[in-house]
Symmetry: C2
Subunit: 240 residues, 2 copies
DNA sequence: CGATGGCTTGAGGGTATTCAAGTGACGTGG
DNA sequence: CCACGTCACTTGAATACCCTCAAGCCATCG
């Protein structure tokens, strides 16, 4: 679906890559942007598939994953609005390096990779912004890697909840888990059963209640005390 | 120490970032490059320290790590010749995002971050090459993350050995572990004891011998069969 | 109503960790 | 030259944590 120019610009402005860019940059992207709604379960692209677009999430959630030779799935990340994905193909022979699937009903912006290519070649500040985004993602991955080593399952869940809260968290706090618990588990590198039990141990140490996807954290500070000691980053952790 | 211009250029040419760059790019960097030999154990920089340089490894090995609140160390990566580090500070408020320490006696090239900044602002192809390097590193981190979830300790060790071998591995193959086993263990996200035992189980499944740091792999293919099934990447894996 | 999928719970097993002891290589100082 | 301490590494025993397998619950949906 083709968006009106102002609509497309408005959406781009809400993404990490385009938020601070001038109209010189926004215009050509807005012009070529295509808007798609995709229901949960839709495969957006697959590993090693030849790539034409990169994507910006307007709403919903997208799972990035890879599959091992013996048939297991490793979840790399689960992204939401404002985030970009598929852009790495530009530097990897125009092939996607992972699978992308809609985890919760999503609205996506499709943007041509070749335009990304020409724009980084012609606008320094845009290239710099892309570098900035990629730098953030690398730091995020480093953090993730550290979590797997240093934090217990319950602590990783606590950390996930804290990042859901956002930086301005005030106790008490209600919120909803944004996607399936099974997927949260994979996202955190554990099995569904372990997630379920981890949540139980978390409840023993920290004052919180859960009913389905509804969650109430009575004391955010208590949660950070339990969770963040095993981490090298200081609370709050803005990114999911 | 100041290098002669040709020496500096020759070194830069061997790095991932500069290998394919023109003299327009190489000259200013070569001019401002400083060469330092640093013995094992030297702290190159620390987390949150204000940053002036980024670094290229000429020889030796460098450990990147972070420390958690409760005093544990998480090893992010261990790098060798041709690799670059410290460059993320440019996008993170001119502060280093991790610790860097010499893991084995190293020769380093110090290069000013501000020059990196001006060069990506003035040369598109250079900015693109930096993007390319950062893309590779991200894929590498994704792979690492997957390994922690999907591979056993013994398989991770096997994977490490295969990457040591390089792409042109022919059986049988002798090689030496490049740095302390304790550090290899941390690099692979396990304890020294687990590494030791993992090596033992690897010997049960695969035909190889170890004496101190000396290692002989009798059948590389046998090792890949044991190791690479739990991975989503296809052998050979070039990067360490 | 039965089927399905997401989630939970229990029992049992496996893998990695902790704690502890011991070996061997190396460097220092007597 | 040897005694000693240190450090890297190994090995054993006991434990903790997470995983697997299995059963069962509950809500949703055809």
């Amino acid at each position: 679906m083709i968006l009106s120019h102002p609509d497309a610009v408005a959406i781009l402005r809400k993404s990490e890559l385009f938020a601070s860019q001038s109209m010189d940059i926004l215009d050509p992207f807005a012009e070529q942007a295509r808007f798609h709604e995709m229901p949960k379960g839709t495969i957006i692209f697959s590993h090693e598939q030849s790539a034409e677009h990169f994507y910006i999430i307007v709403s919903g959630w997208v799972k990035l994953s890879r599959e091992t030779l013996d048939g297991n799935e490793a979840v790399i990340d689960v992204l939401h609005s404002g985030h970009m994905f598929g852009e790495l193909a530009l530097f990897e022979n125009m092939q996607y390096v992972c699978n992308a699937e809609v985890a919760e009903d999503a609205e996506l912006l499709f943007l041509p990779l070749h335009l990304l290519d020409t724009m980084i070649a012609s606008h320094h500040d845009f290239a710099r912004q892309l570098l900035h985004v990629m730098s953030s993602t690398r730091v995020k991955r480093d953090k993730e890697l550290e979590h797997r080593d240093m934090q217990s399952a319950a602590q990783r869940i606590g950390c996930f909840l804290l990042r859901l809260c956002g930086a301005d968290a005030e106790s008490p706090l209600q919120l909803y888990l944004p996607y399936d618990k099974t997927l949260i588990a994979s996202r955190l590198g554990m099995k569904p059963e372990t997630f379920s039990r981890g949540l139980a141990t978390l409840r023993k140490h920290v004052d919180l209640t859960i009913q389905g996807a509804a969650l109430e954290i009575k004391d955010v500070e208590q949660l950070t005390a339990y969770t963040c000691n095993a981490c090298s980053f200081t609370y709050p952790c803005e990114d999911l």
